[in-house]
Amino acid sequence: MLRGNESVAYAFKLARIDVFPMFPITPSTLVPERISKFIADGELDAEFIPLESEHSAISAAIGASLKGARVGTATASQGLALMHEILFIASGMRLPIVMGIGNRALSAPINIWCDHQDTMAERDAGWLQFYAESNQEGLDLILMAFKISEDKRVLLPSMVGLDAFVLTHTMEPVDVPEQEEIDEFIGKKKPEYLTLDANNPATFGAFGSPSHYMEFKYAQYLAMKNASVVIDEVFSEFTSKFGRKYSKINEEMMDDADIVFITLGSCTGTAREFIKMKRKEGKKIGLLKITVFRPFPKEEIRKALKGKKVVAVIDRNISFGFGGAVYGEVAAAMNGMDESPKIVDFIVGLGGRDITFNTFEEVLSIAEKAMNEEVDEINWIDVDKEAVEKEEII
């Protein structure tokens, strides 16, 4: 039985990270706390750097990674946001850092609970993004993220999101692999890429003029494409070694479904139970869980949604002045496809608003309406609209 944060900490320990730069933030704090204890108890031989900010934490992660260290760290929300500038640099420098995120809302107003705004706002940054449904997935994905990120064909950093509190602070059964198994799976040796080396003095982070810059970005683009292939490989190797199945998207009850719910993260389970209940009532609903959001599994999603009627995207984030980020990308993926379903966006669970069966009831009723008539493309669920509108409506 582990809490989500403990899953992350155990995964780092199993991965034998060399350096753990950190700055604490709710709801991720238990990750560094456990690492600190592992080190104090002599169970993990790693350097713990308590930086003075998250900006410095990710900077130190870059420094250590450039020196060839395997680096893990953890953050959330404001901490991730404070890293923003440096996240792009970590990916531009092609460093396989792995970061656990306790997905949490962004200020203002300040709020410590779950939504996906923090990581969604980093979806451009060139990091691989994984979203865990459970603590088991949290642990497994961190482990796999190291293997994927360090693959020579990829060499890009990864973030693995665990929903604030709903996973980070929830204790549940987790199967922790043996150290030897993981040593074999990820490899103990240093990752293969050029590092700071006095015998081979190279220059890292040079200035990229217009004559070269775009090629480096194209290289990152290709590395992301490669990642898509490597993820499949590593996922299936993991399955064969540890028995647990992973894929970029998970399809359940989809065959005959007219309506599909798309979820990321911890609300998937609640959606699953809800759909099962509704199926008993004869409703043809399917569930599509996105585990890998970067690279965006466009082809997989297109294939899965082909011929469906209505797709309800459960967005735990909002790009103000547009709509949910997942909705946007799923809807974009439909372009040019025949038999494209109608994509409807549902903004839910911001700032820790609980996602319940009632939430999905409302989602379903709008999705059913959308089968026959026009509905709003962006729908806010579980929100007291009247309370807001008296001040804001024009």
Binding site: G92, M93, R94, L95, L155, Y193, L194, N200, P201, A202, T203, F204, G205, A206, G208, S211, H212, E215, F216, A219
Partner: protein, 101 residues
Amino acid sequence: MKEITRGAVVKDAGNSVVNKTGSWRTFKPIINYEKCIRCMICWIYCPEPSIYKEDGKDYDAPKEPIKKLPVPVIDYDYCKGCGICVNECPVKAIDFVKEVK
């Protein structure tokens, strides 16, 4: 074809020597070895660095014993003509003349 390394790493340390920044120069420092006392101040302060040390024997010298000391030699491939050496030379042994190319 351009070389596009992973992560924009430059592997060839010190390869900026291919940039012949001597072309920036409008004035040219010329060491008068007959005056130069081999104090190496110009060598210390040249920012490029484009003054190097050479064996002294092939050069004139103001006094015999100095002849064996290393002399400063300007590498005009890189000298940008800033004039620092000219200004700092304690014996005014460096002339500064308009570049003619």
